[in-house]
């Protein structure tokens, strides 16, 4: 009975492992999932840019393209994205020292690119050949159960006027 590891030590080790295992697993899964999303987006964006034309989107109310327009339609689309729990945990620990938050960078740039891509898709479906006065807005979405009001996810809204020629 002397060689048996004391029970308190076992419990301490188990609790430490359980505490850190979840964020680490969540972070790793999230990293893998988000990388696959980004790779998919890279391909889709390239195809769509080639089809739609990168110069057909502008953030100004282009008078020239409006003059020759037949009709127009208001396009709007939004996407809600959130970082994984593991990323949030590591971000929280990183905020002690400050610096660049890579995880948020990835999530935010994904959301913003995806929402513009979807707007283009919508424009194509509605027969528009260009988008003018494109606006992108960001807002936070909080979960009801999250009483502290900590930011859990972000909403990106893109809207603009689609021009039919």
């Amino acid at each position: 009975m002397d060689e048996v590891v004391p029970i308190w030590l076992v419990w301490t080790i188990v609790s430490i492992v359980v505490t850190f295992a979840f964020p680490v697993i969540s972070w790793a899964l999230g990293r893998w999932y988000q990388d696959s999303l980004l790779n998919k987006l890279d391909v889709a964006e390239k195809n769509q840019m080639a089809a739609f034309g990168a110069d057909q989107i502008s953030s100004t109310s282009n008078k020239v393209s409006s003059l020759s327009a037949q009709s127009s339609v208001l396009l709007h689309t939004s996407i809600v994205v959130g970082p994984s729990m593991g990323q949030m945990f590591f971000m929280w620990s990183k905020s002690v020292f400050g610096g660049r938050l890579h995880s948020y960078d990835v999530v935010i740039s994904y959301g913003r690119r995806e929402v513009v891509r979807r707007l283009q898709e919508q424009a194509t479906q509605l027969g528009c050949s260009s988008i003018t006065n494109l606006r992108i807005q960001t807002s936070t979405v909080t979960f009801a159960k999250n009483s502290k009001g900590r930011t859990s996810s972000l909403e990106f809204l893109a809207y603009g006027t689609g021009i039919r020629k």
């Binding site: 988000q34 809600v80 994984s84 807002s139 979960f143 006027t161």
Partner: protein, 112 residues
């Protein structure tokens, strides 16, 4: 919710309706809606948060709500006799934990 026959006006977020000419301006119109999240969707979104990425339930909910706000704005403009709304803008704010307000506004006009 709204009347079954959806009102459809011409909308744009530039200062004119491209391809048409403005005849008359009828003033500011707006529409808003406050939506809370369904608790089931909230729990599911919480699970999705394990890997992160897009939360589809929320995306759908917000798009639906934004369409409703647009419908209300269009009903407002329609009751004034407008046939188009120019310079439409959107605003989003979270009023409480789990609820967000979607607001849109624009200028009601008559176009030819």
């Amino acid at each position: 919710m709204e009347s079954p026959q959806a009102i459809s006006l011409m909308l744009s977020n530039v200062e004119t309706i491209p391809g048409h000419s403005l005849v008359n301006s009828l003033g500011l119109v707006s529409g808003s809606t406050v939506r809370a999240k369904h608790i089931g969707k909230d729990i599911f979104a919480g699970l999705k948060n394990i890997v992160g990425g897009e939360l589809k339930a929320y995306t759908e909910l917000l798009n639906e709500s934004r369409n409703e706000a647009l419908q209300r704005m269009m009903a407002d403009a329609h009751s004034r006799g407008a046939n188009a709304i120019v310079n439409v803008r959107f605003a989003t704010s979270s009023v409480a934990a789990g609820a967000s307000e979607l607001f849109c506004y624009g200028t009601a006009v008559v176009v030819q």
